[in-house]
Symmetry: C2
Subunit: 206 residues, 2 copies
Amino acid sequence: MSERKKRKPGETREKLMSAVLTLVGKGRHFASLGIREVTRQAGVVPTSFYRHFRNMDDLGLQLVDELGLVLRRMMREARENVLQADKLIEESVGIFVSHAQANRSYFLFMAQGLAGESRAIQDGIRSEMRYFASELANDLRRLKMVDHLSDGDLDMTCDLVVRSVAFSLTDLIGVSADDEYQIEQIRKRTCRFLQLIFVGAAHWDR
Amino acid sequence: MSERKKRKPGETREKLMSAVLTLVGKGRHFASLGIREVTRQAGVVPTSFYRHFRNMDDLGLQLVDELGLVLRRMMREARENVLQADKLIEESVGIFVSHAQANRSYFLFMAQGLAGESRAIQDGIRSEMRYFASELANDLRRLKMVDHLSDGDLDMTCDLVVRSVAFSLTDLIGVSADDEYQIEQIRKRTCRFLQLIFVGAAHWDR
DNA sequence: ACAACATGTGAACAAGTGTACACATTAAGC
DNA sequence: GCTTAATGTGTACACTTGTTCACATGTTGT
């Protein structure tokens, strides 16, 4: 295979997907976007859309896949940086918040998709959250922090943790991306939520 | 004032608002609805819309107000029926789930609005949730169940409770309205979440 | 070099959109 | 009963929408 010429393959595809993210980042809702609007934002003729996607839901599903990559990157960074257990929550939530800012549009899209119009996208995002929760359960087991919990109870706990963190996305929506004070408040509150949950888990028995 | 004739005042207004709820109940997202589509569903000519609302966001805001009434009715029913404290969680979650089924469209609209396109609607729904959480805190204080918690910690706990219940709305979206088994699963899981949170609150200190 | 293919483009269409205006009907107040 | 305001209706206009088609261009494999 030789080196690529002027136009990289899949360049328009990327432009279309990031056009959606741009519009979502500007406050638009995915469900209200049309093909023409997206192609216009991407600087491409409407017909090009069909070269890469069958319809908007198709594009949304591929965005969910990219979202999965973003989440995995975040998870890896958390695993590398959270070494000692005592600051586990603070570190993890901090990494989450900074990723949510760096990839704001992806997380906005995620928050929208959970109650969005496309069932397939809903399921995709829910599936990503389940995977995330199960990985979290694995990590907690490995760190020997939850030996007294049954597998089912640990899964439930991690599910609740992931949900609580995900819900804080709706808080982040409400503040402008550079309002450091408000973001710090959200970060602290999310930490307290998780601490409360882990205190509950530590005293859970039945 | 005399009795009303054929056309009740505000009849079209109601028809428009419930037309939106009908469409949302069918799986559509509020952000993707247009004036013409709503008036068509309501069996009304497009121009009538402007007699009652300035635009779709205006209608959405008035729907948030009605949602507030629905939530208050639910709260009243919970207060009447939850007498003994030992079954507090089961009873409350049960009442929530049954209300969420009876007013499915309202709660779908609520779940959508949290990450919706209109900032005003987002804020409205968040405000309803805050009110709900503060009322819950009052009740718990009155029942003498949380004497060891400071006001701030109690507020946080109730906030987390309300969020967890609200998040289960996104679960209810995913199942058809008559899938009793799945709904029962969601009910049980939500109960466990709340139990875990309350165990955490019972052992919370600092 | 040439065929096969993937990708981008412009014009075109029918259908749907938001909104304004003038007009009809009804309800309420004097 | 008459006036006034509120509410519903039909028409119209300028745009936007999704989608198709025929065609141009560039890339790849042989």
